[in-house]
Subunit: 378 residues, 2 copies
């Protein structure tokens, strides 16, 4: 096996360990699955029906042009089909986009602690990551822009709303950032959580601007993480570039059918957004009951500040996982003082409410000193 | 948009135009869909049931380790899970494998007229294709081996049974080829059609041999082309290398569930293989009725020799498409004297039986001279 020098230099790595691997290690399934920002409220019943109907037709390859899905997405956003590139989730689209723009040595800008799968793709194509720290638990567009200018990067990544913190920037700040970027630098605006974002935080689409490509997904509010469909929105030249390297038959017939039906069901989307809002409030209340602070969120998850350092939060996370609550947390300091809890059903959050005080107690005991005093001091 | 020099050098291309695009151009759907070697007999009812059940759970990401599917495939083949890498169809797996082994300038060996999507991936990563011609309408392992030796290629592609000709090599010739390959050269043995292959044409699995990686799919005999699941079988080190660059969450929960159920339903597979055999015989009979020769096939399609040159076969192909029969054909001479017709239902083949004489007549007229005399002369 003669790996390329680049491939040989890469570790075998996994951006995220799946909850299933943790369940196999624990020997028990999770009681509440709140770690991957999935939509526990499920897909639209109409999307389920469409997938079920398509299942019998799964002997057919999906349309490699995804014509109908593309047209539906274009109509939904008021753009042309050539502004839309559907793909296998934002993960898949990011991989293709990075492949198009990143060669060994290419500088790429992102935030320290932002989406690890983007970094995985950049590293996988030999790019060199330059990272700006978060500011006030949010991505810092001015720092990213400065870093893009300084490094000459052709590509900058920013998620709005942000993952893992749940914070968001105003549409105005995003627009200012775009205006300030070097003219030949492309901003990937990852809007996986845009469906949950408050008014005024999602800039108007301007597909005539070649400096921005926006990523949307059916994995979050649409509840179709396990179907693998997302799409990019952008300038026709950027969108057409995907055709140079993409896996044309990668989006199957079941995926295309499910996504189309999900997109059309706006009532379901609204009901999910409402239930996510309730869940966020409940997570905030549970945090407060335990002396913790929930950070404001524009997403379907809440970063809960555990009030001490990363080691303490990691101990809390372990405690939650041991008690059957799948959660994740930010990777870098100081954001790693938080655990990240996805919106759950009322039943899921009952489990959280039961497990969190125990996990805090255990973490406090492990770290020495009672959790109460520690938390009060935070 | 600052594409990498490699990406900038690539054309926007599609290895295959989908039948849906042709249907949109025609303004009518095809009466018989016999061009993509899909399984018109559909997936196992058990696979359909599994996909339908999984549809409601599509809010969950699929297990990134695909643990259960991998274990089931391993058990089926009598190998270990670390010999198995599931992925998004053979197309997806080929892309990942090429990425691992091919850098700009890397020589890669395949047959002229073999699978275009493999070539697309090689070109897409900057590799340089070296092609051996077919011999007697089959891939030529000795010529491929010689070319691998001559070019120092780290990668050789061979499909057995072959697409687009339907021909096959004996297990013995494949084994001899492997033995004759340079020790550091990897053979991709594309066995997409292995489920249809006659006894003695599929070599025994030897996953201790690092020189071979075998590709299997759920898209053909299992009737799940629109679900996007295939797998690689090989040495643990080669299999583990996929973890360096693969899209870990790319195989969704619906795909994993459908594939597992399909793999378990051996009765369905046997019934499909039997019906494909009947369809091949019927295609042979229809060809003979029209004075044409069907080539022997070890697959779910038949290459029908139209008895003249590529221009004539292309005219026949056009005639079939105009009459609502979706078919494809080999791209290079002299194999392009054939049209490639996938196994159809009896109803599909009734449509073919009706359309073929008309298409031949039209092609003969277009080419000047009656088709009968032309065919008699072939």
């Amino acid at each position: 096996m003669r790996l390329t020098p680049l491939a040989a230099s890469l570790p075998a790595s996994v951006p995220f360990v799946g909850p299933e691997a943790q369940e196999r290690a624990r020997g028990a399934t999770f009681r509440a699955r709140l770690g991957a920002n999935e939509s526990v409220f499920g897909p639209s019943p109409k999307a389920i029906a469409a997938m079920r109907e398509a299942a019998a037709m799964a002997w057919r390859y999906g349309d490699p042009e995804a014509h109908d899905l593309r047209a539906a997405i274009a109509a939904h956003h008021g753009v042309a089909p050539d502004n839309v590139m559907p793909g296998q989730g934002i993960d898949g689209l990011l991989g293709t986009l990075v492949r198009l723009l990143v060669a060994p040595g290419t500088p790429v800008v992102t935030s320290r602690g932002a989406y690890p799968t983007f970094n995985y793709h950049v590293t996988g194509y030999g790019g060199v990551l330059h990272m700006a720290p978060y500011r006030d638990d949010a991505e810092d567009p001015e720092a990213l822009t400065a870093l893009a200018r300084e490094t000459g990067a052709p590509l900058v990544y920013l998620a709005n709303p942000d993952n893992p913190m749940g914070s968001w920037l105003s549409a105005g700040r995003i627009t200012e950032m775009i205006a300030a970027l070097p003219g030949d630098c492309l901003l990937i605006l990852d809007e996986a959580y845009a469906d949950f974002a408050p008014e005024g935080s999602v800039p108007a689409l301007d597909v005539a601007d070649p400096r921005v490509i926006r990523m949307r997904t059916f994995s979050k509010a649409h509840g179709l993480a396990g179907l693998r469909v997302g799409y990019a929105l952008g300038h026709p030249e950027m969108i057409a570039a995907f055709d140079r390297v993409r896996d044309h038959f990668g989006l199957g017939i079941v995926a295309q059918a499910g996504a189309r039906a999900a997109l059309a069901d706006r009532d379901w989307l609204a009901s999910v957004v409402a239930r996510v809002g309730e869940a966020r409030a409940r997570i905030g209340a549970i945090a407060a009951e335990n002396g913790l602070r929930a950070l404001p969120s524009a997403t379907n998850f809440v970063a809960v500040d555990c009030g001490r350092d990363g080691d303490f939060a990691r101990a809390v996370l372990r405690g939650l996982i041991e008690r059957g609550v799948f959660v994740r947390m930010p990777f870098v300091a100081p954001q790693d003082r938080c655990v990240r809890i996805s919106a759950g059903t009322p039943e899921d959050l009952d489990v959280l409410a039961e497990a969190l005080p125990e996990a805090l107690r255990a973490a406090g005991a492990a770290g020495g000193g009672g959790p109460r005093s520690a938390l009060r001091g935070a």
